[in-house]
């Protein structure tokens, strides 16, 4: 640390000097002769020591420059290692482009205000180096109850923490093509929310990998939330058979009654069911005729003649009505559809959530069926959201306790949130209304370009793993300042265990190496103890309190 309490540059592997640039294009930094461009990666956090302020920024580009225009014509004899060492960094040197993001005032007292967005650039010849662990802690916070260690900045050992309370204030997104570690990152975020107690989770677990156990690439089993947090997590299942096959006894088996399905749910499934607009809209007429609870059962039980009669009566094309009946009959083969409908799954879920427990709904075999996933997730969420809205309004009028904030995790989110469908689903409403009713989303998706742009722009914090498709990259960066500079950072992400974080909950965009998950150490750091270890610790505590046991 320097005299003014600011971290110094001693720990940096390289140093440089500001030689030009602008706020919009980024600051040009010439690397010191002994620094090699190969040590510096795009996305690295950088500290710049200005005259009165310390700037924090991010490397957005690395380039080669030469002091001598004749260098290309008469290159030095670099086959000689000595000459190569001399020339690199002097005649031929590296420059980096740094996007300044934050400033920390060096004047005592103002530093306590914390980092502010950078609205100017450091002066010429300001010293530049890799940001220190102290800088990272100053900006992102130290690990504590509110700050969850999510990973490490590139090439640094320092823990980079996410302010979980701030995180759950908005709907958030985790993006990345498949195999880039979305699920691991999501599992970490869920664990962070769980640990901090900032909100309760409801996870629509399409591939049954969050509840009890998931699988890493290569088939290695990793513990799910239930194994790590035990009684704080309840695993619900839609497919009891599948759960049993995996040796799990779910806390509750979810059933959906025919009465619970509403025309809105069918609108969302329009694409999945291949329904035309008139066919989908006919559901509203059916509901008006038969009532909210009975319309679906009535429709499915109609004989062909009666169906054509009904179509005439409701002024619907006969073919459309027949298609509607035929397609909706597909729902009948889902094992979780329950004609008796004595279950009230929503009440059960809310009961668990109300007690501060986190619910993972495993889809088991139905996870492979988009129709089932979209139907159930939308239906349950809509009804849970309605109850939350009621509770919140009651809380406002009667000054009663507010419902615990709820984070709903949905996978394959573009199926709910693609433009055209988004307006019909409850998820778009939740994304738009922020936390008005204490419900936010954690959207997990590999195809962000398919998600409605309005929904994308409402997401607070985005955690982005590698994306290849240009359209996907553009989609996640929509509405982000300095998008073009982040693009180069995003493109340089490794395909494993790396992510770019930006948005509401992080003071500046940052590239991280995601925290390990799946090793015994990683479980321990999340507070998990093996039963044997737990027992030993209790024994030790008892011995510490009462002295060693006799005998």
């Amino acid at each position: 640390m320097t005299e003014d309490g600011m971290p110094d540059f001693k720990g940096s592997a390289w140093r440089g000097l500001v030689i030009g640039g602008s706020l919009t294009d980024g600051v040009d930094v010439r690397l010191d002769p002994d620094a090699s461009v190969e040590d510096i990666k795009v996305g690295t956090l950088v500290a710049i020591e200005g005259e009165r302020m310390r700037f924090l920024g991010q490397v957005t580009d690395v380039s080669l420059a030469s002091a001598d225009r004749t260098l290309g014509a008469a290159p030095p004899d670099v086959s000689d290692p000595f000459i190569a060492r001399v020339v690199s960094g002097t005649t031929a040197y590296g420059t980096i482009k740094v996007a300044p993001r934050l400033v920390l005032s060096k004047e005592v007292g103002i530093a306590a205000e914390g980092p502010q967005p950078a609205k100017t650039v450091p002066a010429h010849f300001s010293r530049v180096a890799q940001a220190s662990g102290g800088d990272v802690e100053l900006v992102f916070g130290k690990e504590d109850k509110h700050h969850f260690w999510i990973g490490n900045p590139l090439d640094m050992e320092t823990k980079l923490c996410l302010d979980i309370h701030k995180f759950v204030e908005r709907s958030n997104g985790v993006f990345g093509k498949s195999g880039t570690g979305k699920t691991f990152l999501t599992r970490l975020l869920l664990a962070g929310i769980l640990q901090s107690g900032a909100a309760v989770n409801l996870v629509f677990d399409m591939h049954s990998e969050y509840g009890w156990a998931g699988y890493a690439e290569g088939g290695k089993e990793v513990k799910g939330l239930k194994q790590l947090f035990g009684s704080k997590v309840a695993v619900f299942s839609l497919d009891e058979e599948s759960s049993k096959r995996r040796g799990i006894s779910p806390d509750y088996v979810v059933r959906i009654g025919y009465e619970e399905i509403e025309p809105q749910d069918i609108q969302v499934l329009r694409g999945a069911l291949g329904l035309s607009d008139p066919a989908a809209d006919a559901t509203y007429s059916l509901q008006r005729k038969f009532g909210r609870k009975a319309w679906l059962r009535e429709l499915l039980s109609l004989e062909p003649e009666a169906l054509s009669g009904l179509a005439d009566e409701l002024n619907v094309v006969q073919g459309a009505m027949a298609t509607l009946q035929r397609r909706l009959a597909r729902l009948e083969r889902f094992g979780f559809m329950d004609p008796a409908s004595t279950h009230d799954s929503v009440a059960h879920i809310l009961d668990y959530l109300g007690r501060g427990m986190h619910v993972v709904l495993e889809f088991g075999g139905y996870g492979r069926d988009t129709l089932a996933y979209v139907l159930v997730a939308n239906l349950l969420t809509r009804r849970i959201y309605e109850r939350y809205a009621e509770m919140k309004e009651r809380a406002l009028s009667e000054r009663a306790a507010e419902p615990t904030p709820l984070v709903i995790t949905i996978e394959e989110a573009h199926r709910f949130l693609q433009s055209g469908v988004a307006e019909q689903t409850i998820f778009a409403t939740i994304a738009r209304e922020l936390r008005k009713y204490n419900v936010t989303l954690l959207v997990v998706d590999q195809r962000p370009s398919s998600i409605d742009t309005e929904v994308m722009s409402q997401l607070g914090t985005k955690l982005v793993c590698l994306l290849d498709d240009e359209r996907d990259v553009d989609a996640v960066l929509t509405g982000t300042s300095g998008a073009s500079k982040l693009k180069s950072v995003l493109a340089s992400l490794d395909s494993k265990q790396q992510a770019l974080l930006f948005g509401h909950a992080v003071p500046m965009p940052v590239e991280i190496r995601t925290r390990d998950y799946g090793t015994p150490d990683s479980y321990l750091s999340l507070g998990h103890l093996d039963p044997a270890e737990r027992k030993a610790r209790i024994e030790r505590d008892i011995a510490g309190l009462f002295g060693p046991r006799e005998g």
């Binding site: 002091a67 004749t70 000689d80 060492r85 960094g89 002097t90 005649t91």
Partner: protein, 202 residues
């Protein structure tokens, strides 16, 4: 820099016979016993020491009007020529030119030209490794040498750095550091830089 005790006769190489602020000439006390090209020497006494780098060594007749003539036609070896003509060591003289690269006064060590040249007849001493190391901690002398009014500057710079590197614990690291300084000084003169670097790498 502590030079007391190092003004011993053993280190003495000769006397200054002409001097300017930029360069001076030393007449060696013994024929052919000039310090090698590029060596660091100093002259003067405590309080006003001037440092120089050997830039040019010449041996010639003391009397310009009497040119040396070939004498070894019947001798078996070079040594035999000198043995048979003992007067030669008195008639020939070895001199060297030194480029002034720094000085020391009460304010410490400076690596730029001294305000006054050394006096004629001041003794010149060869610097030992410790002095050479301390003097080359900073690489400012490179700039002085590159701008010195001498022929074959580049050869002198290369010889100076090669010798100085031996005084440093990690000669290679010193040479790399010096090479980088050269690269900065010789921006736009890549041919010249390459030539010096080739001399340093061998």
């Amino acid at each position: 820099m502590a030079v007391k005790g190092k003004t011993a006769k053993a280190h003495r190489v000769g006397e200054v016979v002409s001097a300017s602020t930029a360069a001076f000439q030393v007449h060696c006390h013994k024929l052919y016993e000039a310090p090698p090209l590029g060596s660091l020497i100093r002259c003067g006494t405590d309080g006003s020491l001037v440092y120089g780098v050997v830039a040019n060594i010449l041996t010639e007749s003391l009397d310009p009007s009497r040119k040396p003539i070939a004498r070894g036609a019947d001798e078996d070896s070079e040594e035999a020529v000198y043995r048979s003509n003992p007067q030669l060591t008195r008639l020939l003289a070895t001199r060297f030119d030194a480029v002034a690269v720094g000085f020391q006064d009460s304010g410490g060590l400076h690596r730029y030209l001294a305000p006054l040249p050394p006096r004629v007849h001041s003794f010149a001493y060869r610097c030992d490794e410790g002095e050479a190391r301390e003097f080359t901690e900073s690489l400012e002398p490179i700039a002085v040498l590159l701008g010195a009014p001498i022929a074959s500057q580049d050869e002198v710079v290369a010889a100076f750095l090669r010798l100085a590197s031996r005084a440093h614990p990690d000669p290679q690291a010193f040479l790399v550091r010096a090479g980088k300084e050269l690269a900065v000084q010789l921006i736009g003169q890549s041919q010249r830089l390459n030539a010096i670097l080739r001399r340093l790498s061998r």
